[in-house]
């Protein structure tokens, strides 16, 4: 636990000294622009458009940050050989990975929190009603970002090329939002083997289609059972990716 915390601390500090806050500044600009656009164009639905665009911008900026950071997270330390010194201390490689991952997630989460707070405050300031749970929508976005972080980390170690890892991460992000479509396609395919293959693929990709409270927000309050299952799903999917990353990392020589 102590070593995870030590790695977590330095990772968080490292990120906060580098790039994450640039994302927040960018978000500020996007949000102001979207607020202006929303009030000019959306008529009765200004609040809805402002809410959707704000949450979407928050998630998009967090996605770019988390994929970029996690893909470089270990490879850069291998490149700079900083990993030599860490791993020549009594640190389990899996603990090192976990500490690095959690530190990165915390940095991105802090950025998302700041963005979310600014967005929510702006909505309140404008007097636009926010019906539904902003916190739940924000938490779902954070969980999606955690899943993507764990997945990109695994891909960066399994593929070794940063460009390939980033491309596959974006591919999985899109595939994840198509999981419902893929299962629909599997049902309609008429070929049992093809159907099974598509279904298996849809389960291997993260199921973001059923996770996206941000998109389902306007449909009303979700079933509490859904929220619980979604939380377990996020933890389990992250756990599986991190365990696979640890398996690959254990085999590596430096």
């Amino acid at each position: 636990m102590g070593t995870i915390k030590a790695v977590f601390d330095y990772t968080l500090r490292e990120h906060l000294r580098h790039k994450v806050w640039l994302g927040c500044a960018l978000f500020g600009l996007v949000m102001v622009a979207s607020a202006l656009l929303a009030s000019a164009l959306a008529r009765d639905e200004r609040a809805r458009v402002m809410l959707d665009l704000g949450l979407a911008a928050n998630e998009a900026i967090a996605l770019v940050s988390v994929v970029f950071l996690t893909v470089h997270l270990i490879l850069q330390e291998v490149e700079s050989r900083a990993v030599f010194l860490i791993l020549t201390h009594p640190v389990k490689r899996s603990n090192y990975l976990l500490g690095r991952f959690l530190g990165t997630l915390a940095a991105v989460g802090l950025g998302m929190g700041a963005m979310g707070l600014a967005h929510w405050a702006l909505l309140r300031l404008l007097g636009w009603p926010v019906e539904g749970s902003y916190l739940l929508a924000w938490s779902c976005s954070l969980a999606k970002i955690a899943i993507m972080g764990a997945l990109s980390l695994f891909l960066s170690l399994a593929l070794t090329s940063e460009a390939a890892a980033m491309s596959f991460s974006v591919f999985f992000w899109m595939l994840g939002h198509f999981s419902a479509e893929m299962r629909f396609l599997a049902q309609k395919s008429g070929n049992a083997l093809l159907g099974a293959a598509i279904t298996a693929f849809s389960h291997a990709a993260p199921d973001f289609a059923h996770f996206n409270y941000r998109d389902a927000w306007h449909a009303g309050v979700p079933d509490p059972g859904w929220a619980l299952a979604a939380a377990v799903y996020a933890l389990a999917y992250c756990g599986a990716c991190l365990a696979l990353a640890a398996q690959v990392f254990d085999q590596k020589e430096f």
Partner: protein, 234 residues
């Protein structure tokens, strides 16, 4: 535990919880159900990046643009057939996000009640789609009933029914203006004035506030001919 064994255990937990999650989640219409428009690629791209609600918002803004003037990329309406593409554009919003209630009601309001449009069958089709997607939404049935009264010429009952939903937050401001204008056209200035005043008091109807001020002044002049003319909205 070895990493591979841990990965297998986590994967099993993800499969089980994923099944429970998807069984309880709200399903969206398949993207293949989107009506064919020049904007299909835009919609599919946004949806595939997890921005379905934002895609619906953009489709809503484009629909407003179409209603207000014209929408670049869309073929022009046939001569004498205004709002030729409105049903398609409204269905596009609805199928991107079936819970976009105001979009159904707004488009149905134009198709069913706008002077010179006269497409009640399209309004009915749209509202029926709304009921199919969201059977618990009472306003769709209420609008269908109001349309039926309109078809039968029972204007009093139609107005009374629509006014019962006047304060509902989902009622589009444009529908409220239709109602106020209907009162005015019937010479019911006091009732029309009351409706415009309610529009002016509702922050959500801000898009109609300038128009409401103008109408209130006009109605006051009609009711009391000595009152001064208002300055036009800036």
């Amino acid at each position: 535990m070895r990493p591979l064994a841990a990965a297998a255990a986590f994967a099993a937990a993800a499969l089980a919880s994923g099944a429970a999650m998807s069984a309880r989640a709200r399903e969206f219409p398949s993207l293949s159900e989107l009506p064919a428009t020049p904007f299909t690629l835009q919609d599919a791209s946004l949806a595939s990046f997890g921005l379905r609600a934002a895609a619906a918002d953009l489709a809503w803004v484009q629909m407003l643009q179409y209603v207000g003037a014209s929408l670049p990329g869309l073929p022009a309406d046939r001569p004498g057939r205004p709002y030729d593409h409105l049903l398609t554009l409204a269905l596009r919003v609805a199928r991107l996000d079936p819970s976009f209630h105001r979009s159904y009601l707004y488009a149905a309001g134009i198709l069913g009640w706008f002077r010179g449009v006269d497409r009640p069958e399209e309004a009915v089709a749209l509202l029926q789609e709304g009921i199919r997607r969201d059977p618990g939404e009472p306003l769709y049935a209420l609008y269908l009933a109001a349309l039926a009264y309109k078809q039968k010429g029972e204007t009093d009952r139609m107005i009374a029914l629509l006014e019962s939903a006047f304060e509902d937050p989902r009622t589009p401001s444009q529908m409220k203006t239709i109602l106020a204008n209907a009162r005015k056209a019937r010479g019911e200035y006091a009732q029309a004035l009351a409706l415009w005043e309610r529009i002016l008091e509702t922050p959500r109807d801000q898009a109609q506030h300038a128009r409401a001020r103008l109408q209130i002044a006009q109605l006051k002049r009609l009711m009391h001919p000595a009152s001064p003319l208002p300055s036009p909205p800036r």
